[in-house]
Amino acid sequence: MLTNSLRTGPDERGRFGLYGGRFVAETLMPCILELEAAYEEAKRDPAFQAELESWFSDYVGRPSPLYFAERLTAELGGAKIYLKRDELNHTGAHKINNCIGQILLARRMGKKRIIAETGAGQHGVATATVCARFNMECVVYMGERDIERQQPNVFRMRLLGAEVRSVCSGSRTLKDAMNEALRDWVTNVATTYYLIGSVAGPHPYPAMVRDFQSVIGRETKAQILEKEGRLPDVLIAAVGGGSNAMGLFHPFLDDSSVRLIAVEAAGEGLDTGLHAAALLRGRPGILHGARSYLLQDEDGQVIEPHSISAGLDYPGIGPEHAWLKDIGRMEVTAATDREALEAFQLLARLEGILPALEPAHALAAAIRLAPTLPKDALMVVNLCGRGDKDIYTVARHLGVRL
C-alpha cells in the first residue's frame, strides 16, 4: 500500500484532515450510515462497476473528448490548451456522471423517491433525467432566484416529469435549496434518497460524488498520454461545491508535477463582498453536514454569496478541496462575473463552443495563465457544462433583449 498517497481520504470518520465529517441531525444519522455501507458494498461489487461503465458509455456518451483548442491556444500565445468536453455529455454537463452512479445506488437500496437541490439547474436536470429513466418520483428544490435566471432548465425538469419546488427562504439560491432538501429528507427519511449534486454534504457524499466524477480525470489522463505522451502541467476547473474539479483532479493528486488550479467565482470582485469565493475569502465552518471553508460573518452566520453563475453561487466548498488547499496541493484563484462573460464570448468566437458560465470562470483563469507559460506547457481546462442554459443571463448582461 502506498502510504504517502493523497488519494486515500477520507478516514473512517469521513474526515479530510480537519474537514468533512457527519454534522447532521440524529434523524438522518442512521440513514447516512446505511448509505455509507451500501456505497462501500457497491464500490467493491464488480457488477455495479460494470453497470456504471455501461451507462456511462451508452447513455451519457462517455468518454467525452479531450479537445485541443488550437485557435484559443494561438490567440493566447502560450501553453497548449486542451478542453475536457464534459459539456457534450447527455444533459449538457458533468452532473449526469454522479446522477447515474447515485441512481443505481438508490435502486440497489430499494428507494423509490429521489430529492435533489439545484443551483444552475444542471444537477436538477440530470437528476430528473435519471429519475425518468429509472422510473422514480423526483422532487427538485431550487431557489426562487435561480428559478428566475434558469428558466430553460426549470422547464426541462418539468418536461422530464420532476416536481420543481421553489425555495423562498434566505438568499433564495443553492444554499437555501439544500436547506430545504435536508428538511424534506428528515421528514421522509424512510422512503427518500437524497441525491446530492456536489462533493459537499455529510460523509459519504463528498467521497462518493468524487468517485463517480473521477471518470473525468481518469479519461483525461489516458487521453493526454495518448495525444501528448506525457502528463499535463496544469489542470484548471471552476469550483462552486467543487464536483467537476474534484472529478478532474483526484486521479492526478499523486502526480506532483501536475498543478491543480481551482477557480472560484469572484462575482463583482473579491473585495466587494459580492462573491462566492469560500476558499479565498471564507474560513472553516460547519454547514450542510460538513466542515469546510465557508463564507460567514464573525458570529458564524452564513453570508449570502454572489455570482453571475447560479452553479457557483454557494457559500461553501467540498471538504476535500479545503484540505487540498491547506496542504498546498491545490492552488486557488478566482474570476469575476465580467471575466467569465468575456471568456464565454471568446470561446464562442474562437472555438465555436458556448461554455456554461461555470466553466467560463475556469477559462477566464486559463486565459490569464496561458500566456505566462511556455508554448510546450500542457493545460487542461474542464469544460464541465454547455452554455445554452445561460444565454438569457449573458444577453441581459450584454444589454441584448431576446
Binding site: 441531525a25 428538511r183 454547514l287
Partner: protein, 275 residues
Amino acid sequence: MTTRIERRFAELRAQNRAGLITFLVAGDPDIPVFEQLLEGLPAAGADLIEVGMPFSDPMADGPVIQAANLRALQAGITLARTLEIVRRFRERDAATPIVLMGYYNPIWAYGRLRFLDDAIDAGVDGLIVVDLPPEEDEELCLPALERGLDFIRLATPTTDDRRLPQVLKNVRGFLYYVSLTGVTGVKDAIAEAVAPQLDRIRRHTNLPIAVGFGIKTNEQAAAIARIADAVVVGSALVGEVAAHLDERGEARRELVPAVHAKVAALARAVREARR
C-alpha cells in the same frame, strides 16, 4: 453535587407530574422584548427553559422557527449577547434550568472551548446542538461533560435499538425524544405513537425523557405529559410571538402577556394531566 437539571427533575418526580419545557429564540422579536419574555417564563409555569441560539440556516426547523431566527438576527442577536441575557436571568432566578439549543457553526465560530467556559459562567445548564450526532462527540459533547455542562441528545423514531446505546452513552441531564421524523412545528405529535417508543427507550436508560416536536395544543401537551417526564413546546410559542407583531415587525403591547398566558395554559394542562 447535583445539577440544576437533576434537581428540577427530582422535584417533578416528587410532585408526580411532567415538566413543561418552553422554547423561544433568543432575541426574538428583539432583545428587550425577549428579555421580558424570558424573565416571566418561570412564573407562567415553565419548569425548564430552552433558548434557541439563532442561526442563518436552521436546517432542522420548520418555517415558524426559521422566521424567528431571522427576526432575531435582524434585531442584532449574537451568541455573546445570548450569554449576557442568560447571565442577567440567572442573577434573578437561581433555580430554573436553562438549556441552549441551536446549531454548531455559531459555537465553532465563537471558539468551542471558550464558548463552553462562558456558557457555564453565564449560568447555562445544558446544550442541545442539533447537528452534532454521537459520531462527532469529540467536537463539543466530551469537552462539555468534562467541564460539568450537560449535553442533551436527541433520539428520534429512526434511532433503533442497535443505535440507542451509542446515542445514550454521553447524554447528561435528560434525553430529548423527537416525536416524529421531520422539522419543528409542521406535523402533529401523536401520543399513542410516542408511548411505545418511550417504553423502548426506558429499557436502555433511567434518564428523564422530554418529548418535543409537533406539540402545539394544551390537549397534545397533556397527552404527552401522561407518558413523558417533560413536554417541550416551541413552534406554538414562537408562533404566538409572530402573531403579535405589527406591520413593521415590532412587538405589540400585548405580545409579552399573550405568550405568558399561552405558557400558563400549557403549564396547567401539563400539571393536571396525571390527576
